[in-house]
């Protein structure tokens, strides 16, 4: 049965359905509704909720809870995500799972509270210090967000890594009909590494400190193996009206959704254009994109930024086809007609 829900609230409920035992967060527009919803629902279900003193506090509370093997999530928006980078780097190197959602807004700096996609580099190329890359899932509708949040918890447990979801203020604020899986008691999986009290076993240590170059190299190689596995197994994307597309538009998230409408309109006018929408921003679908553009003549990249994903598109394209860019910054959200006008310029 479908319910009409605001994106932020759906994110919260999705986590709950996935068995999230703890939520720690801090108010920041445009995702504060996640925190407020959790503050009401988690106590109802006897699960943990804390409004932390800052995003720094929130991500470290996530770290602590994750060490015990519990399913835990935090959500934030761009400036808060910056604050969390230290924690993300530590959690990643500690090999403990969690889910982190960034509802992007206009930046850099304090910016504004409108939707944007300016954190792509930060989310897909590391963000915090050190060699690491986390799974980044990019939904474009509230239902996709719900599905990806639930999947994110499974992926986090599978790889013992943080899994991130890249969304924006539009998705956070929009209301759409959504469906959830059944509400169940959270399962507490037996994680042999978890800090649950050293009863009947040797003590466990969860740390990201590995003094001695050989020790740290060993852990980094272990991390890189996980990244390699992720690259091999977790590529996701979707295609829209790509049959015979001469112009391939690459866009994700809200930008992807806007482009989809423009593509439909363009096709109705006989323009051979299609949309390639990556869903895993990391691992980026390089090969599927290269295959999808084999018979195309040009690529148009549309982002709500100065152009960040376009660099990954260039990598996939290997200087074969000409690439154009249409982007808006500052939280300006283009209309499908704006994209249609850009498409027509390329014809």
């Amino acid at each position: 049965m479908k319910t009409l829900m605001k994106g932020n609230e759906a994110i919260a409920e999705a986590a709950i359905r996935a068995g999230c035992e703890a939520y720690f967060g801090y108010p920041i527009t445009p995702q504060t509704e996640v925190l407020e919803y959790m503050s009401r629902r988690m106590p109802e279900l006897g699960r943990a909720f804390v409004q932390a003193e800052s995003e720094l506090g929130a991500v470290n509370m996530v770290y602590g809870a994750a060490c015990t093997g519990a399913r835990v999530m935090t959500t934030t928006s761009s400036p808060g995500y910056s604050l969390m980078q230290e924690g993300v780097s530590y959690i990643t190197m500690s090999f403990v799972p969690c889910v982190i959602v960034n509802i992007m807004r206009g930046g850099p700096g304090l910016g504004n509270i409108q939707p944007a996609q300016g954190d792509y580099f930060q989310m897909t190329k590391g963000g915090g210090h050190g060699d690491y890359s986390l799974i980044v899932l990019a939904p474009s509708t509230v239902q996709e967000t719900v599905d990806m949040i639930i999947e994110a918890f499974d992926l986090a447990d599978k790889y013992r890594q943080p899994v991130t979801v890249i969304a924006d203020g539009a998705i956070g604020q929009i209301m759409e009909p959504v469906e959830f899986p059944e509400l169940q008691e959270p399962e507490r999986p037996e994680h042999p590494w978890a800090l649950t009290g050293a009863k009947g076993r040797d003590k466990n240590i969860v740390t990201s400190l590995f003094l001695g170059a050989q020790n740290l190299e060993r852990e980094n190689l272990r991390l890189q193996e996980i990244v390699a596995e992720i690259k091999a197994n977790e590529v996701r994307y979707t295609e829209y009206m790509m049959d015979g597309a001469e112009i391939v538009i690459v866009a994700y998230g809200t930008a992807g959704r806007i482009v989809q409408t423009a593509v439909k309109q363009a096709r109705a006018e006989g323009i051979p254009v299609g949309l390639f929408r990556p869903i895993s921003m990391f691992p980026f679908p390089y090969e599927p994109l290269a295959r999808a553009t084999e018979n195309a003549k040009q690529i148009l990249v549309v982002e709500l930024s100065a152009g960040q994903m376009i660099e990954d598109v260039r990598l996939a394209n290997c200087e074969r086809l000409p690439i154009s860019f249409f982007g808006k910054m500052g939280g300006v959200v283009p209309l499908p007609d704006d994209v249609l006008a850009e498409i027509k310029k390329l014809v």
Partner: protein, 254 residues
């Protein structure tokens, strides 16, 4: 003629049988042992989780026979909060130094105390940043020479020391906030009692407990260990008075 003797002092089960990296005469060693003794006495080793800071005791996880996590600098009380909220049956303690708790981590410890988190914080105050080579700490005494206050701490431009117990005791969520020391056996005994009470406060769900230990740093103070204990007694303790700064009524009934 040999008379039978009984073993009255030996390594607690909760203290790992390893040589620590701490400097000769560092009070960390005494405090570690006392925490281990308390864990043994209360029978909580198998459900205790410690959280190590960034500082000299960053490797504390090697010295205790219980589960341990390594926190980012200053964030241990936030980690402890996350842990305790999902696993309230665990006994969780953070172990932090001056920089970790009173500088970068002030926000985390203040709010953990304000929220009355049922965790225990052991705060080692030795007026200097030990691990990084002796820089000024928020707890460095006025006039004290450190590697980043080479002319002696000038309160006009470098401010006054932070008294943590006094600060934290203002928060209603704090149930047990005390300052002790370890410069002589009688004080070591009082410190042990305070640590035991702090853990009992947590186990009774009475709120946040903090034990501040006025401590030494022979290496970075440029003194012998015995000289450093004199400095603790004669210079540190007068500035950081020992005592009970906040003790909820229910604690007295424990």
């Amino acid at each position: 003629m040999t008379q039978e003797t009984e073993l009255v002092f030996s390594r607690p089960e909760s203290l790992s049988d390893v040589i620590t990296h701490y400097c000769p005469g560092c009070i960390h060693g005494i405090v570690h042992r006392l925490i281990a003794e308390v864990m043994d006495e209360l029978g909580i080793r198998e459900r205790t989780v410690g959280i190590a800071p960034v500082g000299c005791s960053v490797l504390a996880y090697n010295y205790f026979e219980c589960d341990f996590a390594e926190a980012a600098h200053g964030r241990a009380p936030a980690m402890a909060t996350g842990m305790k909220r999902v696993r309230p049956e665990l006994v969780i303690f953070t172990y932090q130094g001056d920089g970790d708790l009173a500088s970068i981590g002030t926000n985390e410890v203040v709010h953990a105390a304000a929220r009355g988190e049922n965790i225990t914080t052991v705060f080692i105050n030795n007026a200097v940043y030990g691990m990084t080579g002796g820089q000024m700490a928020p707890t460095t005494l006025p006039g004290m020479v450190t590697t980043s206050s080479p002319y002696g701490r000038d309160v006009k431009v470098q401010g006054y020391p932070v008294r943590v117990c006094e600060l934290i005791s203002q928060l209603d969520g704090a149930a047990y906030v005390v300052r002790r020391t370890a410069y002589k056996p009688a004080e070591v005994r009082k410190l042990r009692k305070a640590l035991k009470t702090a853990f009992q406060v947590q186990m009774a769900g009475l709120g946040f407990s903090l034990v501040e230990v006025v401590s030494n740093c022979p290496t970075n103070w440029g003194m012998t260990p015995t000289e450093s204990l004199k400095f603790v007694e004669e210079r540190m303790v007068p500035y950081y008075p020992l005592g009970d700064y906040r003790v909820k009524d229910e604690v007295k009934d424990l």
